[in-house]
Every structure is written in C-alpha cells, then in structure tokens.
Subunit: 324 residues, 2 copies
C-alpha cells in the first residue's frame, strides 16, 4: 500500500506595496496597522516602503508591531529629525523616496498593486516635488498615462471629468473629449472589477439637466455627443441625469458608477455616504493604485488613534483588483 | 351648592389653505388625502382652494372622500374638460385661480398659512402666467418681498443663494449682498421655528473651499465679507466649509441650516436624504408658505397612488409655523 501525499497548490497571495506617505502624518502608523491586520494578511502579502528607523519610532509611539516586511528606502534624512504634525522638506523627501521605491517595484513586477499613504502637498513641494499630487505624478511615472480620479465605496462609485479647479472654470473646462476619456476608463475599471459590463450613470452639469437649454446648454452641446460616442463603443451609460436626483437611493441602485462633471458634484454625495470607508482609485494607470480618501491628519499623527477604515478598504480593493 | 362648569378654552386650530395645483396632476388627490388625514386634522383646519366639480371627479377616481371644506374658485373652465396627465391652458387657468384665491385668503387674514400643490410650468404659461414659478409669483403678490428658497427635512435644511441658473453663471451671480440677504432670511426663519438662535453652516463655492485661493477666490473676495456682515448682526454662521465635508453626518449634527451657493450644492445632499419627505419652504414672505418638494407627476395623476409624505410634511410644517 502506498501512501499518497495529498498536495495542494497554495496560490501565491497578491503582493501589495504600501508607500509610507508623509512620515510626520498618519501614514506610518496606518502602514503598521495594515501590516498587522490578520484579515488583510490572510488575503495579501503586504510590504511597507519606507524608512525602517522612522517606522520603528512610530510603531513604538503607537504601540503597534513593526511591519514584518519593510522595503528600506535610502535618504539623507535621519528619522529622529522628523516631528509628528510638522510640515518639513525632510518629511517630504522621505515621502517621495517611499513613493518612488514602491512605484519602481510595481513597474518592475516585484509587486502586484500600490496603495499610497497620504502625502502633504506643502512638504513634498518643499522637497522639490513638482506635481499637484500623487495621481499626476503616477501618470507621469507610468509613461504619461491618461488617468482619471475615481472614488469608490460600498454604495457609490464616482469618476470625475474635471477635478481640482474653481467652480467658475468648470463649464469651460468640460469637454466631450474628457467625458469620453473618463467614461471609457470608468467602464473598463468597473468591468474588470465586476466581471460584467457595468451600467454607468451620466450626471448632467446644470440643475434639472439644463431643462432643455433653459439653464445652460452643455447637456445638448457637449454631454449628449460624448454619450453618443461612448454608446457607439458599446458602453451602457444613461442620459444626463438631473444632478439632484442622480444620487438618491433609488437611482444609486440602478448604476454601478457615476460619471460626474465636477469635483463637488461627485464628492458631496460620496463623502456623505463614505466619509470613513471611501477609497481613492486611480483609473487608467498600467498598475493598480488605490489610496485612502483622507489626508495626512497632522493633528492626530503618531497617536495610534487614526481611523483605519479608509486605508483598510484601499488595501482590500487593491487586493481584489489584482485577482483579475 | 353651586355647580361650577369647568370651562376649557379650546384654542382654535391653525387654518391651512391648500391650493389645488394643476388639476391634471397629482395636486387634487393630494388635497383630498390631506383633508381626510386624521392626524393633520387634529392639528389644523384645512380648506382646499379649487374647483369643486374637478375635486369631486378626482375624489371618485381615486376613491378618497371629498374634502369637507372647499373654497370654490370660479373659472370659465368646465371640470369635465380636464384630462389627467395632459398639459393644457385650461388646467393652467384653474391652477392660477386656485393659487390666487388661496393667496388672497392668506393676505386677508382668513387663513393662517398657505400650502401649494404643484403647478405645471407649461400649463400656467399657456394660461398667461408670466413668472418662473410659485415662489417668484408669491414674492410679487406679497409686495415684491425679498424671498429665498429653502428645503427642509428632518436631517437637513438648505437655503440657496442662487437658484435656477446654469452652472457656468453661478460664480458671477453670487454676490455678498445675496448671501447676506439669504443668510438673514434663513436665520430668522429657523429662529422662529426652533425658538432659539440657530447655528448656520456656510458652504463654500469652490472645492476644498478654494484651498486659499488656489481654486477660486470667491471665498476670500465675496463669501468671507458676507459672513463678517452676518456675524456683526449677531448671526451664528460658520466659515466657508469645504462642500464635500459640509453635509457629512458629523457636520450636519453641528448645524441647523446650510447656506448654499448654488442649486445642486444644496439639492444633491437634500434629495439624497429627503427625496420623499422634503418640504419646500419660501423664506421672507409676509405669509407662511410651504409646498411638497415634487412636481405634478402627470404620469401617475388621478390614480390615488401618489406618495403623500412630502405633502403631509408641508402641511405639518405650515401648521407648526403658525403657532409662533
């Protein structure tokens, strides 16, 4: 009688790179929390990209275990010079180095997805960073990819056709080209995630969707032609919906994602629903990238009290997306 | 021994005038429902301003009792010529006559408050009405009062500094004068309702409240000066809040009312929370006026299936406001 060993193929876990973010903010403690989370660790293999001495300081401060997998960055900055809650070019330098190392690893195939902890605009700019934020920098590092900003949570996903600009400049900046581009990216991203063609909502620019041109003609002149183009490409997207009813519980159930014309049109409803568990999802990059939907929270940095829900949701989504 | 009769002064119930609205819409059946509602009738004395024969037809159609108190309007229109769901100048004529009679009664002191059932813009315009809607007409009928549009529900009250205009024209239309005027009206209205000084939120125009002028300078140039003026008048109002966090559950709890810069900024969050029970409340009139936050709903007119929650909330609020 022969004993047959039952061998089981253990699939390798998705490898998630987390960049530490601004060391003076809540990024480092979030990294430690994520690396220590038993649920996340059951589904992914997390590596924190950052300064080991700094992470050690924060872990001790907050009484969280030090991550078992740290990819050490090299910078001229000594960890003991970083003060929590203080904007500095030194902190900015560390944040950029962490981000760069994590991007390199994703582009090089050593990691399957990137989750970025928050950076501080003032700090990275003081350290010589010349980009408005993570998203724009990632687009450039990834071969000038055409990207879009989306936010996603259990009850709503929004993608923005215009982002950080004054309300006065929104209407003139809204183009059919941009709506088509963002609509395409949202469609592709949701199809990958849901494994079926998604149903998209298009949110009009004007109140009551312009009421047949009475309050603005962008629906007729810009949005409808863009929708015709998207539909010709096989994308299931609604007519321009009156913004004030597009986000009601009833209409949310009909759609997998909302294509929005401007920042607050998407962000007001999104943050009402998902202030604590929303995820920032960059569409269009050749790598998977998510991040928590909050900033460095300098006021509570290194106290171990940061709300982990958004960061945990970002890691979960990144993990889910790698399996496609 | 003398028998002393214990007499109790029964306070007279607030007298609520309801205008029938467009007879081809859901207005007439809503009037019948309200007049038959035992809870509303325990707190108010409802009179429906409309065409008795038309109300009779609708009551029979929908199998609701005919209101016991009808103020009969006189028009050249025969009730049998009105078809549910059809836009017509005849219906518009009836709607205007109902509204006029109800306004007259409020201005003349025969009624304590006005609740208006929905009119149809196309129908009243076909009948010679030259005003954008109820609110503007009421302002003129009440001596060109300076009014503001507010919407209120259990978890949110919003007042709008600009209303029905294209998004492209909002920034140029937003003035300190208008913010001061609407802020004052919102303060006065909520003080009357709450019987204490209300706490108001001011919602910024631009994303992130302009991020110190990076995305628009209206916060600095227009909004902050208006707030300084309101505060000098003793009004408790916040700094311009980042629109995307102003409506989160946490911030909603801090404020009794939100002063909004444009239609969808207020209406997107409002309709997410109060699509079925929101009330349109006209601030600044010498009479109390509320209305349901929906239209004529021609597609379901005369079926008896209309959702009564918004209309019932409008009657309740009008009743509550008369007791001040």
């Amino acid at each position: 009688m022969t004993h047959v060993a039952h061998s089981r193929v253990i699939p390798s876990l998705p490898r998630i790179a987390i960049s530490m973010g601004d060391p003076a903010g809540v990024g480092p403690e979030l990294c430690c929390h994520m690396a220590a989370d038993p649920v996340l660790n059951a589904h992914s293999q997390i590596t924190v990209y950052g300064d080991p001495a700094l992470l050690q300081r924060v872990a001790e401060h907050c009484q969280i275990p030090l991550p078992s997998r740290i990819h050490a960055i090299t910078t001229p900055i000594a960890a003991h010079t970083i003060t929590p809650g203080v904007v500095s070019s030194a902190a900015g330098t560390m944040a950029i180095a962490s981000l760069d190392a994590a991007i390199d690893a994703c582009l090089g195939g050593q990691e399957d997805a990137l989750v970025t902890a928050p950076i501080h605009k003032g700090a990275v700019h003081a350290a010589g960073f010349r980009h408005p934020g993570h998203t724009e920098y990632l687009a450039q590092r990834c071969g000038k990819a055409k990207v879009a900003m989306a936010l996603t949570g259990p009850s709503l996903t929004v993608a923005l056709a215009t982002v950080h600009r004054s309300l006065a400049s929104v209407a003139q900046a809204l183009t059919a080209q941009e709506l088509i581009s963002v609509g395409n990216l949202l469609h592709q991203a949701l199809r990958m995630r849901l494994r079926r063609p998604p149903r998209l909502a298009c949110v009009a620019l004007n109140p009551h969707a312009g009421e047949n041109g009475l309050f603005g003609d962008e629906e007729v002149r810009i949005i409808r032609p863009a929708l015709a183009h998207l539909r010709a490409a096989g994308i299931d997207i609604s007519d321009p919906l009156s913004p004030d009813s597009a986000f009601t519980p009833k209409l949310r159930k009909l759609y997998d994602g909302h294509l929005c014309c401007y920042h607050d049109q998407g962000l007001i409803p999104f943050k009402m629903l998902h202030f604590h568990d929303g995820v920032n999802w960059t569409l269009g990059l050749p790598i998977i990238r998510t991040s928590p939907d909050h900033g460095t929270a300098f006021d509570i940095a290194w106290r171990g009290t940061v709300d982990q829900r958004s960061m945990r949701a970002a890691v979960s989504l990144a993990t889910q997306l790698t399996s496609d």
